[in-house]
Amino acid sequence: MERLGRGIALLTALAAAGSSACAATYVPRPSHYVVHDADDRYHRDGQEVAVGLLGGGAERLVAGDARALEHARRAQHEMRLGWTLYGVGWASLLVGAVAAGAWSHDRLKEGAAFGVMGLGAGVSLVGVWFTMKGGASLVDAINVYNDDLDARAVPP
């Protein structure tokens, strides 16, 4: 069994050495389209536009297209709300855990502390859902922008 453990470690080390830590990133050619690269960076008109975790930069990414801007604003709002709820949820979990430890002799108070922990877990899950919704709204903003670019280039 010990040999098996060593074998697993050796096989893994060889496989890891055989592959570089990160694959090369293909840099998209300069284009009017909004493009998302492998390093999670956005490009537009040959320039890199950073979009933060809270959605900062989303409006700049699709600036000039009113329809896309609506989606970008929604993305920013959902991401901010999501991260806030996630933080509040985790804070409640920690406070609940500390309180449950401190009130272990009082069943009622301990029960309330576990309730706060459960509520915190629920709130942080809702937060995760909102951040994902924000990601989807950002994808919508990009697709609307790129579609409108096509529509402008080829008049019906």
């Binding site: 069994m1 893994t12 990133t25 293909y26 050619r29 990601g135 989807a136 994808v139 790129n146 579609d147």
Partner: protein
């Protein structure tokens, strides 16, 4: 909690999770175009090409079909599929090591402390390797799509 209530709660949670996983897809359907567009929150799972939806599976299935017609992009998609399979294999190996290590550590009748601890902590290596392969796989998929879209503009 009674059995019926517990089953109800499990069903409700499952329905909520199923709904939330569907809802993370964007609401906007891109116009039919030969360009590949992502339509989900992660940006690496559901795509639209020529007005048709394409799903890329957890093992990389569907990636080659998504960029079919472009040799360089297909090569990247093929590498994506290989690395996804390797990532899951190493994850399985790591979780197997954790499980075996835990079982050996809990066995009070026979003393396997060293072996158990070795397997338990050694399991971190394949898990880290799995993360590396997973990261490479996402890079390759994004590269495949960008190569495909760039070549369309030529």
């Amino acid at each position: 909690m009674t059995g019926t209530k517990a089953r109800g709660a499990i069903l409700a949670v499952t329905a909520l999770l199923a709904h939330s996983s569907c809802a993370v897809t964007g609401t906007y359907e891109p116009r039919p175009s030969s360009r590949i567009s992502s339509v989900d929150a992660t940006g690496y799972r559901t795509f639209v090409r020529d007005g048709q939806r394409h799903e890329v599976g957890l093992l990389g299935g569907g990636a080659e079909e998504l960029v079919s017609g472009n040799e360089a992009a297909v090569a990247e998609a093929h590498a994506h599929r290989r690395d996804r399979i390797l990532a899951w294999s190493f994850l399985g190996l790591g979780l197997g090591g954790f499980t075996a290590g835990t079982i050996l550590n809990l066995d009070q009748r026979h003393r396997h402390d060293e072996l158990g601890a070795g397997l338990y902590f050694g399991a971190f290596v394949p898990i880290i390797t799995s993360v590396i392969f997973s990261s490479r796989a996402w890079h390759e998929l994004a590269n495949a799509i960008n190569i495909y879209n760039d070549d369309l503009e030529d």
